[in-house]
Symmetry: C2
Subunit: 90 residues, 2 copies
């Protein structure tokens, strides 16, 4: 099947399964802008990444299914909105 979330690594066999993506930035200011936008998106949607791991120039985002069982369209839509945050900041 085609990849429904291009750019994200789909760990289908994980328990729970996850979507993972690494975002790189040229400097801390851009990293910080992305983190702030992601926090605002979480507050708007009520959805939170299971984990965010960052340093000065990168942010690793891990998403888990809302029901703990499978990556569904809700999670994929959240992933796409996270991608859009980066597109918007460039």
């Amino acid at each position: 099947m085609s990849d429904p979330t291009p750019g994200w690594e789909w760990e289908e066999r994980g328990r729970p399964p996850t979507l993972f993506r690494r975002f790189g930035f040229e400097r801390y200011g851009a990293t910080r802008d992305f983190l702030d936008a992601l926090a605002a998106l979480s507050e708007e949607t009520g959805m939170h990444p299971q984990n965010i791991n960052f340093g000065t120039t990168y942010v690793n985002v891990t998403l888990e299914p809302t029901d703990g069982k499978a990556i569904d369209d809700t999670v994929r839509a959240f992933a796409a909105r996270i991608d859009a945050l980066v597109a918007g900041s460039n």
Copy 2:
């Protein structure tokens, strides 16, 4: 010798050596407040944790020495100021 940075795990043999501490919070709002305060502290001091790893109710902070060789008083002072952010939010 006495522990100069109580509450932090000192990985002395790591390359580079690191200081690590996990901060737990009751809810996302408190987690977010701590992250915002930590970002403001980084901008004020020009010092950044090597890595920050967080979910909705925890933040793991890893500090590295500024010279890449040893945990010095500058890093310990930064760790103490991070601790103070939590004390201030409670």
